[in-house]
């Protein structure tokens, strides 16, 4: 099963999210109130490592495990799409105290209310798919 490796990386991701407390509703509240460095440190360091790693992959044209060149699909610029879409997600992130990954992590922790959040999130994506032609992109 070639997908088992993603189950393993996903499991590590879940453990990291839990242990870092980045999946905690309490930490998200603390973050949006600017009352601790914790969340900013996590995201900031991940990006501080990610930027040079991506730059090196591009410059050296590095390949993945199967020998394919690693490519980064860039998203084209748009103000309404990212600003409005991002703001809508941000409202949900603060209300739920979890972004999509942590929703699932919290279900594993045992907070079953997050199962409702997950089902609603799928429905939210469905709604977007249905009305997307009417939205500014």
């Amino acid at each position: 099963m070639k997908n088992i490796k993603f189950l393993i990386v996903g499991t590590l991701f879940g453990i990291i999210m839990f242990k870092s407390e980045a999946a905690s509703w309490y930490r998200i509240q603390e973050m949006f109130r600017f009352q601790a460095f914790h969340m900013y440190g996590i995201i900031g360091l991940a990006v501080a490592i990610g930027i040079p790693v991506v730059a090196i992959i591009k410059a050296k044209q590095l390949k993945d495990y199967s020998g394919q060149k690693i490519v980064f699909k860039s998203k084209s610029w748009s103000i309404p799409r990212y600003l409005i879409g991002g703001t809508i997600f941000g409202l949900g992130w603060a209300l739920s105290g979890a972004c999509p990954g942590p929703i699932v992590v919290n279900m594993g922790v045992g907070y079953l209310g997050y199962a409702v959040v997950l089902v609603s999130a799928v429905l939210g994506t469905l709604l977007y798919g249905v009305i997307r032609d009417k939205l500014p992109h």
Binding site: G41, I70, K75, L118, G124
Partner: protein, 186 residues
């Protein structure tokens, strides 16, 4: 060593490990983005009959569903085997005081179980909050083309201006919810 694992991990360990997760997905020829799973789940359930947006080969994305299931298993492992007894997230005193003003009890565990545990399902207000929160997340992430992993981590690592703008949006929404809407809701 075990004691070190059991205690909550400091930000610099966590930030490093999240970057490693992103790198391992790149090494496996994939990109780190969790919210795409929501679209895949729609397509899997036959949403392509409702909207062309879901008409794509979702099987190519099935690797990410394995990642999703893993995230749930990881949460279970973390909470069950890798936590100190009576574990409660230690947030700042200021946050605890702000939350108390809104009527939240002293932090207990990983999230307020009154709003996110099983008991939330029997409370109409909590249930509505869960549903609306999910709808906003599902709608907003797809509209913006990504969430925290896809934009804030992967996109900014790729120095993509669109991702920076999306993250600005995440914070506009998050600050609005926390500082303006929370006092109305709670």
């Amino acid at each position: 060593m075990m004691d070190w694992i059991i205690q909550p991990w400091p930000w610099y360990v966590s930030g490093l490990l999240i970057a490693l997760v992103m790198c391992s997905l790149l090494f496996f020829g994939k990109s780190f983005g969790f919210s795409s799973n929501l679209r895949t789940l729609c397509a899997m359930c036959g949403a392509d009959k409702i909207a062309p947006f879901f008409n794509f080969n979702w099987k190519e994305q099935s690797w990410n569903l394995f990642f999703l299931v893993g995230a749930g298993i990881g949460g279970y492992i973390g909470a069950t085997f890798l936590s100190p007894e009576g574990y409660t997230v230690a947030i700042s005193e200021e946050t605890i005081a702000d939350l108390a003003v809104l009527g939240f009890a002293q932090p207990n565990g990983y999230a307020p179980s009154h709003h996110f545990g099983l008991e939330a399902l029997g409370n109409l207000k909590s249930l509505v909050i869960l549903v609306i929160g999910g709808l906003l997340i599902g709608f907003g992430t797809r509209y913006a083309g990504g969430c925290t992993s896809g934009h804030a981590i992967s996109g900014i690592s790729n120095l993509q201006p669109a991702s920076l703008l999306a993250v600005v949006g995440f914070f506009i929404g998050g600050l609005l919810m926390t500082h303006v809407l929370f006092p109305i809701i709670y």
